[in-house]
Symmetry: D2
Subunit: 366 residues, 4 copies
């Protein structure tokens, strides 16, 4: 089959579409990145769509790749897995989207047909999962190819606030699915969130969907804790003195918390979760871990606890879109800095010094 047979003609709305190149943020091996000219993506499979990126952002994982922590990512890769954009081309197998549609790009690509997708585990899709900006070129560019477009894009209303929406590519479903849903947060619960970075704050915002009685936010950084206080934490605890677990136990009269959510990804914070979880409680891991942790089964074997791990499946994206539309969630709260996409090198500098810059999410606009 020729490429011509696979695609619908690009519409006239896509005015930039005559060029065959574009600018993109390219990973050039550990510690190196550049904003450079790359070929524009094209349709490979009938299910593909090409999206013109209008808004994107940078994720902590992008920094990990840049540091060389994910050796599977080759030099030359365009980074980024979060975006809002406009459909530029679609393959013949795409049924839900048309050229010109405004769409949210999910960080997870889902074929919808494999065994994992049929079980709503899009994160483990046999031909998708988290591949954008990692196994295939990503969204920090003018254009991006999205495989399995029917399962990986979501329609946005014409007037949608792109800054808010791009928070639904990854961070909000991640916080909600891996932290809140897996932690089974319930009305009246006492919840502790360890880590007040962007993902921890996404957990904090979405945990409130379930009206817990108390939310303790634990972090080393007072600025982030202050933000957490504004975002609805009932108590904030600076853990730099090593007494965070002790403080939580005091606040709960020695009982511990119903739900402890790990949003950092290091052994120490997972350790805090083990110390503070109440009998019958849940530990929901959200953080990306690079090494094993010690699990104190000698203390926990008889405490009826549940520990979960999860890569976001983005199955709750339609629900999150409804909640944002209802006004019960304001994702744009998470945005602290804004850049033109062409200034993405500066944006990385800012995001890479998040603590100093007071940065949470930085928004990039094309």
């Amino acid at each position: 089959m020729t490429t011509a047979e696979l695609i619908e003609a690009p519409s006239s709305v896509a005015t930039a579409s005559n060029s065959t190149t574009m600018k993109a943020l390219v990973y050039l091996g550990p510690g190196k990145r550049s904003w450079e000219e790359k070929p524009r993506p094209s349709i490979h499979e009938p299910g593909d769509a090409i999206v013109r990126v209008t808004t994107s952002t940078i994720c902590g994982t992008d920094l990990h790749i840049l540091k060389g922590d994910l050796p599977a990512v080759p030099a030359g890769r365009i980074l980024g897995h979060e975006a809002v954009g406009v459909v530029e081309q679609v393959g013949t197998g795409v049924s839900k989207f048309r050229v010109g549609d405004k769409v949210l790009v999910s960080c997870v690509t889902a074929c919808l047909t494999c065994d994992f997708c049929r079980k709503q585990m899009y994160s483990h899709c046999r031909t998708g999962g988290w591949i954008l900006g990692c196994m295939i070129d990503g969204t920090q560019a003018e254009f991006v190819r999205i495989p399995h477009a029917d399962g990986s894009l979501y329609s946005l209303p014409a007037g949608a606030d792109e800054e808010a929406m791009v928070m639904l590519s990854d961070i909000l479903p991640t916080g909600f699915e891996c932290g809140v849903l897996n932690g089974q947060v319930k009305p009246g619960d006492t919840v502790a969130i360890v880590g007040a970075g962007p993902v921890g704050l996404a957990v904090l915002l979405t945990a409130q969907f379930y009206s817990p009685a108390a939310i303790f936010m634990i972090d080393l950084d007072d600025k982030r804790l202050a933000v957490a206080g504004q975002f609805g934490a009932t108590n904030v605890i600076n853990s730099s003195d090593g007494n965070a677990a002790k403080r939580v136990m005091e606040l709960t009269d020695g009982g511990g918390v119903d739900v402890a959510i790990e949003a950092v990804g290091v052994p120490g914070t997972f350790g805090i979760c083990q110390e503070i979880v109440a009998p019958g409680g849940r530990i929901a891991n959200v953080g990306v871990h690079g090494k094993p942790v010690e699990l104190h089964l000698e203390k926990l074997w008889d405490r009826n606890i549940t520990i979960t791990t999860r890569l976001v499946d983005t199955v709750t994206t339609p629900m999150l879109l409804k909640i944002v539309r209802s006004g019960k969630l304001q994702p744009a709260k998470l945005v602290t800095h804004r850049f033109a996409m062409s200034d993405i090198m500066k944006a990385y500098d800012t995001f890479g010094n998040a603590a100093k810059e007071g940065a949470l999410k930085v928004v990039l606009s094309n």
Copy 2:
């Protein structure tokens, strides 16, 4: 209030009741036990019942106590937390049982009124939980005092098979609740059980309530594996060559198991569970652990797995009684040896050499 006010008069059915002493198996400090004369128990609280023990058994935990592994258990303690018997006396606050009732003694004592009991977590009852034969005198005796009798005893039909029923004191609810329910075994699932001792076999028997497609049984002992084969395991794997995980992955075409159930209590077997669990799968810990284990979050953080721990709550005892009555479960299969209670010293010798003796559960009759 005097004791006289607290109790109903013992009925004439309890012919042995005039004596003030009884024989009991007493823990005398690490490595020491004897079958000796002890005072007969009496009602302390309005909710107490005194049960004349007709059938009991020995649990692996009793051996742990004897070894001195549970230093909280004082010398002088009567051991045992499993029994069938007849109610001899009841306090004024007991509403469900009368003198002469045939009863199952649950290994877990439940007040039913505290916050944990109200959440069906009897294992963590504020004034109960697992206390029999551990924090208070137990069932390997002629008589035993059962606190919170309304929550801790279950009526048995007059003609009930006591050997079968005593398996419902601990081992079957433990296997079912901690292994099968927490592991969320479902029709069509592939299940691995690591450990083919009595508890692992109880998991095996009760896992079949949910019609998994395959059950792999893993152990070091071929005799126990042969029993597992007779009890319904679809595959048995001797792990002594260190290749059990590899073998499971081959059997599942590299996919791993939906549910991995740890029924030993050492780091190595918990490690096998981590190696074989499929994305989206569950690890249900049943074993009693004495030290921490290494949790490979660097591999598991993105695999959507659930790990659970649990001390048996015995909330499923009424259901298990129904299933036994229906003939769909034959608990007496687990019984390999029978002794008179007065021969309990010999019974301990046999059970203490379980591998050599081919012992699973040993039944003691008064």
Copy 3:
């Protein structure tokens, strides 16, 4: 056993306790009630407590009894099943409460030991359930006997707001359990509540624990709908023109609602629920029905819906107490009128003309 043996001595805090009579609101047969002298209740069973009522209220069900709709209720019965009070005496089998404790009286009496209580279905307790002010004398009096006190009373902090707390006797757990939990209200859901009386408003307040995207409130009375708007309804619909279902379908672009909650108890309102429920949706019945309804299985058989009924179990009372304490629920909002208990005859007049009087809940204080 003598009564003397069953009870703890009343404490000196209970200054009114020397008298053997008290005043109470007595049902005298259809249409007749009086505030009259009655014997003070005493301990009958070891599990009983006598509570001095400090705050009570009137329920719609009390009006039903007065009309003669519940012929099982005999003339002479003291009405009322909602109260806050102070423990005056306890039987020997009561373990959780002491004389002088401030308590919430649950509308449902729970032995905690029967098969239904063990399944958390206190509403169907073999020796309890809804019996107060119906099968046994109730709370609209100076004193009330509470059977199974350990399962039927809840400790209150000393300074608790009694007006708020008495809303937790019945109306809030009823709205929450029968409406919100059975209706499985989820974040992002569209919910319709048919009936804006006190119970419908209790559904409205507690549905918001789960952050639905939209809540439609349907009633005939604009005043109640205005209250609903203040309490968080996103849309209010006056159904007096017979077009409520049509209006809901318009508001949902023809899709219908995820959850339809019936809070009236007549065929017409249950009919509206059937017309507006979306495929995959839930109809949760809260209303007390006096006659059959037509269930349109010819339309609904293939629509994957769930219909539930429930008498409140009050299993969520501890959780509701936590939420009230956290400030996320203000039950006192439901109180529109206040009377001294001795003015209860007037309070009934007001509550019996709720529409005219703009009455929701009337609070009675001793």
Copy 4:
């Protein structure tokens, strides 16, 4: 796009593929059917597949269509929604199937991308659902076009028993999902199935996945009840004397059943379910209803019951395939008669006189 661009070339395995016509069972208006020449189907959409039917069967719904009960079905329609076959052609958007693949045709067509499919409610797929042999031409033919092939076909192993497999097109997932899953059958439960026709028997077979303690089978026909007894019913009750509900209440000591499953589709049988359901129990409707039923809310409002309806979603098909492969389910038990597809007119005669002929499922082979 031309048809040529949409399809892969038919493979040489499909020897009959040169002809442009085929034989099919055609509905010719109420009461009329014929086995006649029809054009062979072709690819219309990129997601379509053409399947050469090797095995099919007749469903009770086909008889309803023939009677004219579903006026939306036009004369000229090829009937049938159950089949096993071989893929003959695929559109360009089909990713999971290739020409020559052996497949199970699901009775429900699922696009996998619409809002209902994303919620696993394939039955309500916006462009699918139950359309085969009803809104589009069906499987009682030599060839059939299957829209959304990736979501509507399932791979079969080469040597699969087609008779067994064709039972997974509709009847087994219907019994399992609408009856057993919606009824929440649990180990130890008491279950009543009202209706021992093919679907009721499918409920009976699949209910046993969950080890209920008792299964009562209720029907008017002793022959079918005898089959039910062989298939695992613990009690069979002939309801022709009008005393079925009374008998169930006796068998349950007045308690009623945990789950009542309606598998007929008339008011009387739904009425039996209402009479026998225990407090806390579930009524799962499986039957196709043509008129409203009376729902006795005046008796059921306070009994904590759940009533469900469902059109099969076939989301459990992969699981059922696993269970069949494990040998724990023998679907071929349901087959009583076998015909060549060319004798389908006779097969309809037999199936249409099921009671007299002792027919359950009739298998048709091409």
